[in-house]
């Protein structure tokens, strides 16, 4: 029985519903008297999209594994005509097509599902904006983002993916700069956009390279042709001949530059922490759960390129490990609750890239999912905290909120345990799987012959995991334990210096923080619940008595098999050792350390002593190693100076040339004028004068006297008559 692609007649609606919501809300929301209508449209479109995704997901599950793909071609988008690719002239078209397969289906569920919860949360979080008349704008942007993200994941070819890729960048820019009247938000938006553009350039180059190699942008064709391409002895492009692997390495690295931009990896991660200037639901939706995972999704989607590109994979592995470590260390010394979570996100994305780099695409993708749940829960929880405490984000001014926001606290606690990797929370299954796969790259089933890079990356990853558990515990303790340090109550002198009063009502309101409304804590609780149980979807093989690795099996038809599929081998004892070590010693150790420093001693004297002892170390970490300042000095300032130089060139040379040309024209105009008025007009006047002189005799005839005319006429008549009479 042949399993052709299933027909999905309503597939397009998944992506298009949110854009309808965005368009309608964007066009009419300003005039909508009742913002409930805006809510209904925004939530409804995403909710129905989720239901549709779920429906198609179930349809997919009922198919045998090799037939699990639904493709819907809407129209031909670009017709390249005859394109020169390797085999000569071929006819190429790129369609506006959607592809629902195990990977994109799961991502679509994630995007619409988490997206819906965050839309719901936003109805509460953005309630203050309802009066300002810009609430509709926020909802329209969120919907537009969901549309772009769905295009990215559901697109059936690289061009569709690129469309979504750019779209999410745009929406991210719009949403970070939502409070654009504030300078820092506008700047952060620009920073995110420009940094992403740098990455997008890499993505485009990689995309074009792949198109040159394969002559197609369609994922099915790409994957199907890979073996054929690999079988070639060499490929010649742009006059260069290299083995296919060489070109795959190049394309993989270029695409990874794009992933670095979108998924905030070193060196392009700097925009993500600044992106926290946007409203908190945005931080949760875009900058934790969905958009930043698009780089991972791209790598998983193009795994057939990456498994055949060992150098590109090593780059991914190393950059991921470095990012995980550096970003985690930056998170240690932040006081802004959202900044901690932002660095945590960067660090966790680094973990995912480590997994990808180790060739464990399913492990990386699984961490994408668990991370989406627990990080969205953490971000939304922090949003609840911020709102409950009247836009206070500095953890030194929070504290003791455990009993005041019980639901938020419980959800965030679960999420924290998940991110720290405690058994049996979801993070344990996903993160430890990644770390094990990386370690396995060096360990290779007991023979220590693998790459040294894998060992280095594993060590960096372990340190980063320790730091993760530490800073998350620190965040929880600072926020939820101890005493509430709001409204001036501060027995231990921990309060940060009063910040410029942005909202004007911090100190005037002296009422206690209290639990947020249901439409805010329910999404957080759902996400917390998912963070608790999601891990059981993908139990590693070594723990097969608990359950099976459903997620890996689900994605396996999309993975490019290098060799013959390996039979399940015996689980190395080392894996159990590391697993037990991670969940019983390593993560709890970090958490206990944080508890010892911040929890047992409400004045944090040990932390303060540490800072006093190593002031420079703290200064460096707290200021994020001055990377922003370094970029400012090494990239932005030179660019500005080049711009100024070009401006001078423009002013002096270009404008000078233009002005010179103008002067010349003017001069030539004067010469022409002189010639015209003296020579040409002179000639004309001369002729007129001559004619005037010649005409004097005729003037005499024209006396103006009627009698004379009549007389002449009579004479003429007489002459005529006489002539007639005589001749």
């Amino acid at each position: 029985m042949i399993h052709g692609p299933l027909h999905g007649s309503l597939l397009w609606l998944i992506a298009f519903l949110p854009v309808f919501g965005a368009l309608i809300n964007g066009a009419t929301g300003r005039r909508a008297r009742n913002t409930k209508l805006v809510d209904a449209l925004a939530l409804g479109s995403v909710g129905i999209a989720f239901a549709l995704s779920l429906f198609y997901f179930i349809v997919l599950m009922r198919q045998p594994s090799e037939g699990r793909v639904i493709i819907q071609e809407l129209w031909t988008w670009v017709d390249f005509g005859g394109a020169h690719v390797l085999d000569g002239l071929t006819h190429n078209t790129v369609s506006w097509a959607y592809r629902f397969d195990p990977l994109s289906g799961a991502m679509a569920l994630l995007v619409t599902g988490v997206g819906f919860l965050i839309h719901l949360f936003s109805t509460g979080y953005m309630a203050e904006e309802r009066e300002d008349g810009r609430y509709y704008r926020f909802m329209a942007y969120l919907n537009l983002f969901v549309f772009s993200m769905l295009n990215l994941v559901l697109g059936a070819n690289l061009l569709m993916m690129f469309l979504g890729w750019e779209g999410v960048g745009l929406c991210s820019y719009l949403l970070i700069g939502f409070y654009f009247e504030k300078d820092f938000a506008a700047t952060a938006g620009k920073k995110a956009f420009i940094t992403n553009r740098i990455g997008d350039f890499g993505f485009l180059v990689g995309f074009f390279l792949l198109f040159q190699i394969y002559g197609s942008a369609d994922f099915s064709t790409l994957m199907g042709m890979t073996r054929e391409v690999l079988a070639r002895p060499e490929i010649t492009l742009f006059g260069l001949s290299h083995a296919p692997t060489w070109w795959f390495n190049l394309a993989g690295c270029c695409l990874f530059v794009g992933a670095c931009g979108k998924s905030a990896q070193i060196p392009l991660y700097v925009w993500l922490p600044d992106a926290m200037a946007g409203p908190t639901p945005v931080s949760a939706l875009i900058h934790a759960a969905t958009m930043v995972t698009s780089g991972l999704y791209m790598i998983a989607r193009l795994n057939f390129v990456y498994v055949n590109a060992p150098v590109a994979l090593s780059v991914v592995l190393f950059v991921g490990a470095l990012t995980a470590l550096v970003a985690a260390s930056m998170g240690l010394a932040q006081y802004d609750i959202k900044k901690v979570l932002a660095y945590s996100t960067v660090s966790q994305l680094g973990f995912m890239f480590m997994g990808m780099g180790a060739g464990a695409f399913t492990a990386g993708m699984f961490h994408v999912f668990t991370h989406a749940f627990f990080k969205a829960a953490l971000f939304l929880g922090s949003g609840s905290v911020i709102l409950a405490c009247h836009h206070e984000q500095d953890m030194r001014n929070l504290g003791g909120l455990k009993d005041k926001l019980p639901w938020t606290f419980r959800s965030m606690l679960v999420a924290t345990l998940a991110i720290a990797g405690i058994f049996p929370f979801s993070g344990f299954f996903s993160k430890d799987e990644i770390l094990w796969k990386v370690f396995d790259g060096w360990y290779r089933h007991g023979e220590l012959g693998g790459s040294q890079l894998a060992l280095l990356a594993w060590i960096m990853g372990m340190v980063a995991a320790f730091m993760t558990a530490f800073y998350m515990t620190r965040l929880m303790i600072m926020t939820f334990w101890g005493e509430y340090r709001g409204h001036g109550h501060d027995p231990h002198g921990l309060r940060a210096l009063a910040l410029p009063d942005e909202h004007g009502h911090h100190e005037s309101h002296h009422h206690e923080p209290h639990e947020v409304p249901w439409n805010m804590w329910v999404p957080v609780a759902i996400l917390g619940g998912l963070a608790l149980v999601a891990g059981f979807l993908n139990i590693p093989h070594s723990l097969h008595w608990i359950g099976s690795s459903r997620f890996s099996e689900w994605l396996s038809p999309l993975l490019f098999q290098v060799g013959a599929p390996e039979a399940h081998e015996a689980v190395p004892a080392m894996e159990y050792v590391l697993m037990v070590w991670a969940t019983l010693v390593w993560a709890p150790g970090a958490m206990l350390l944080a508890w010892w420093i911040y929890g047992m001693d409400p004045s944090w004297s040990k932390a303060r002593a540490f800072v006093a002892r190593f002031p420079n170390l703290f200064r460096w970490v707290h200021n994020k190693y001055f990377v922003d300042e370094f970029y400012e000095a090494s990239v932005i300032q030179p660019t500005l100076r080049v711009g100024e130089g070009l401006w001078v060139v423009d002013g002096k040379v270009v404008d000078g040339a233009v002005n010179g040309a103008a002067w010349l024209s003017l001069f030539w105009g004067r010469v022409s004028f002189w010639f015209d008025s003296k020579i040409v007009d002179g000639l004309v006047n001369l002729i007129a004068w001559l004619i005037e002189q010649l005409s004097w005799a005729f003037r005499r005839l024209q006396s103006g006297r009627v009698h004379q005319y009549a007389f002449v006429m009579f004479l003429g008549f007489l002459v005529f008559a006489l002539w007639k009479f005589l001749v």
């Binding site: 005839l701 006396s703 103006g704 006297r705 009627v706 009698h707 009549a710 007389f711």
Partner: protein, 100 residues
């Protein structure tokens, strides 16, 4: 057949009076009257010859000339009125706009 000579002499006299009037008088109205005289002299001539030759073509032509004369007078008088309104005079020697 009666001789047309008498009528021809009368016609000649009338025509001469008309043409002298046109050439000598300065009042536009008189000039118009003289033009009428000239036309009617011609009519007389036509009828005289018609009668002499026994045909009716000349009489018909005279009728045509009378119709023409009526039209000419209408236009001529209109011009004189328009002229008077503009120049407050009907003396043709005072009007020399076409003097070169």
């Amino acid at each position: 057949m009666p001789s047309p000579n008498f009528a021809l002499v009368l016609s000649f006299l009338l025509f001469s009076i008309g043409i002298l009037g046109v050439l000598i008088r300065r009042n536009a109205l008189i000039i118009l009257m003289c033009v009428e005289l000239m036309l009617n002299a011609a009519n007389l001539n036509l009828i005289a010859f018609a009668r002499h030759s026994g045909t009716v073509g000349g009489q018909a032509f005279a009728l045509l000339v009378m119709g023409l004369a009526a039209a000419e007078v209408a236009i001529g008088l209109a011009l004189v009125v328009a002229l008077y309104r503009r120049k407050e005079t009907v003396r043709v020697d005072e009007i020399d706009l076409l003097k070169g």
